[in-house]
Amino acid sequence: MKQSRWQQATYRHPYLFALLLLVAAFIANALLQPNLLEPTTLNRNMRVFLPLILVAVGQAIVMIGGGIDISVGSIVSVVNAILATQIGLSGDLSTAGVMMGVALLVGMGAGALNGLFIAYLRLQPIITTFATSFIYAGLALFILPNPGGGAPSRLTAFYRETIILWLPLAFYVIALILLIWAVVRRTRYGRYLYAVGGKADAAYETGVPVRAVQFSTYVISGLMAALGGIAMTLLTGSGNAQVGDPLTLSSITAAVIGGTPLSGGAGGVAGPIMGAIILGLIRNIISFANVATWWQTFVNAAIIVLALAMPGIINLVRRRTR
């Protein structure tokens, strides 16, 4: 079947559509909020977007490997609960450092449990991570039954206020992720990842350690969710065992808008980062455009559906016009 130029372009650059959408959302946002590019405003936005960006990157890696992770939101909640109870508002920096290390290990452990069930026991990803999301959500609630605790202001200030060379902290985090990804995807592991997501049977036939690669994607996703949880804790400065709930579905949306198909084997990390920023900008636009309160959820969801449907609409129109 002959593909249209648009299809070829979107196949070669999975984030192309996300980039166009990002530019559009950015322009719309800048029109409504003229000081958007000022370092402080930029920082105020980016620090809110960062937790979802981190989680969406992990989600995208699982999706490239052909799976899905419904438990990421609960992992964020567990990490938030651990940090808020163990560091506390008056905690010192060394405790904070240790606890963040523990949080990362917990995230990876949770991911490893997912990976164990999915890769080695061959359970279906969506239902498995749904089941484990209950376990992790219960754990978060067990650690922190009522909202409370927090992080010391010195730490939250570092997260919230750090601006280096006019660019907020979030930009450096994103740059670091992109750099690591640029290296990883050129390694043997990177090629394995796409092979496993694209056609697991064929990958297995050619000697790719399919199970180990699948396992690793969930560990990475757990790690990214834990990082998202740390960012979330430093952003809010407080503990709430349900803080991660909305991130699960948003991370999938962000990854898909960013050109990561659920069927696996394609996509990247730049797309989901843009996807997460787009979701945040849309929310901004709606609040600045004076949409009536009761309409905001609807308008937000309608724009997202339109964004998700747009590549399909473009393909359909192009096929009709030829």
Partner: protein
């Protein structure tokens, strides 16, 4: 060597029976009292009806394959429960119009889902997830935070109360409904085509199945069944709130999976889903009876679900 195999629906039913009998030994269980045991068993089945009917649509879309799933189910249940509540507003003569209205609304939402999936090639999970957001937004727009209305006496009578020989109406409705689902899946062209497109879309298309029409029809049906679910849920509870459907979303998928329907499509049955709904409802209500903390309850529920799918939800290995 032939291995002893038990079909998933049967295994789920056996598990439910064993769990139920064991629950008799709990401190506040039924003990040796047969009447109390029967009453409890009937109540659990009655509670399973709602999940069972909501999961029916989920069963259809999952069997249809192509990564089929309907994440808008929870939102549709909420919307239709609220619509039922406001349209009926305590009047018996409004029950039928309300039922038709919620079926239409559910069907319309399903139609949009199906169109997006079939024409725009959006993956079902993403399309229905987006739709769930839109419907949730719609609920806020319509209700503006408060819902006024009431269910009609006849609904409570038929759904929540015993109707025949002490059997609650909901269970009788479920029995009739199950018969229809069986006929639909096993004795109609729609059912045959559904399994065909679930097993292999290309082969189905080449043998003359209208795949696009089937996909759209299936999602429409799923929306309508979620609408029916919303109608029954509100008839049972008698009150409504704007998150009433949420707790049904993922359990509806879990019930299908526990019932042995392949999440990859092409294989499954509604009886399996019924058994799955029964087990999930039983486990949930047992955990409630045991008066565990919310946190422990969630962990146990997650672990149980994991154990159940680990028994027969395994996919084939590469070497087989």
């Amino acid at each position: 060597m032939k291995r002893l195999t038990i079909s998933p629906p049967l295994a789920a039913v056996l598990l439910a029976i064993v769990l139920f009998l064991l629950s008799g030994f709990l401190p506040n269980g039924f003990g040796g009292n047969l009447d109390v045991a029967t009453a409890q068993a009937v109540n659990i089945v009655r509670l399973s009806v709602f999940l069972g009917i909501i999961a029916a649509g989920q069963t259809l879309v999952i069997i249809s394959g192509g990564e089929g799933i309907d994440l808008s189910t929870g939102a549709v249940v909420t919307l239709t429960a609220i619509l039922t509540y406001t349209i009926v507003n305590g009047r018996n003569e409004q029950v039928l119009p309300a039922l038709l209205a919620v079926l239409a609304v559910g069907g319309l939402i399903g139609l949009v889902n199906g169109a997006g999936i079939a024409f725009l090639a959006i993956s079902p999970l993403v399309m229905t997830l987006g739709m769930a957001g839109v419907v949730s937004g719609l609920i806020l727009v319509i209700t503006q935070g408060n819902v006024s209305g009431a269910v009609a006496p006849i609904m409570t009578q038929l759904i929540a109360r015993p109707v025949l020989l002490g059997i609650p109406g909901a269970i009788l409705i479920w029995a009739v409904f199950a018969a229809f689902m069986w006929l639909l899946l096993e004795r109609t062209a729609f059912g045959k085509n559904l399994f065909a497109i679930g097993a292999n879309r290309t082969a189905a298309r080449l043998s003359g199945v209208n795949v696009t029409g089937m996909v759209i029809g299936t999602y429409m049906l799923s929306g309508m069944l979620a609408g029916l679910g919303g109608f029954l849920v509100v008839g049972n509870t008698g009150v409504v709130h704007i998150r009433i459907g949420d707790p049904f979303l993922f359990p509806s998928i879990a019930a299908v999976a526990v019932g042995g329907t392949l999440l990859t499509g092409g294989k499954g049955s509604y009886f399996g889903t019924m058994a799955g709904a029964l087990v999930l409802t039983l486990v949930t209500s047992l955990l409630t009876t045991m008066q565990m903390q919310e946190s422990v309850r969630r962990m146990v529920l997650g672990a149980t679900l994991l154990a159940m799918i680990a028994i027969y939800g395994r996919q084939r290995g590469f070497r087989q």
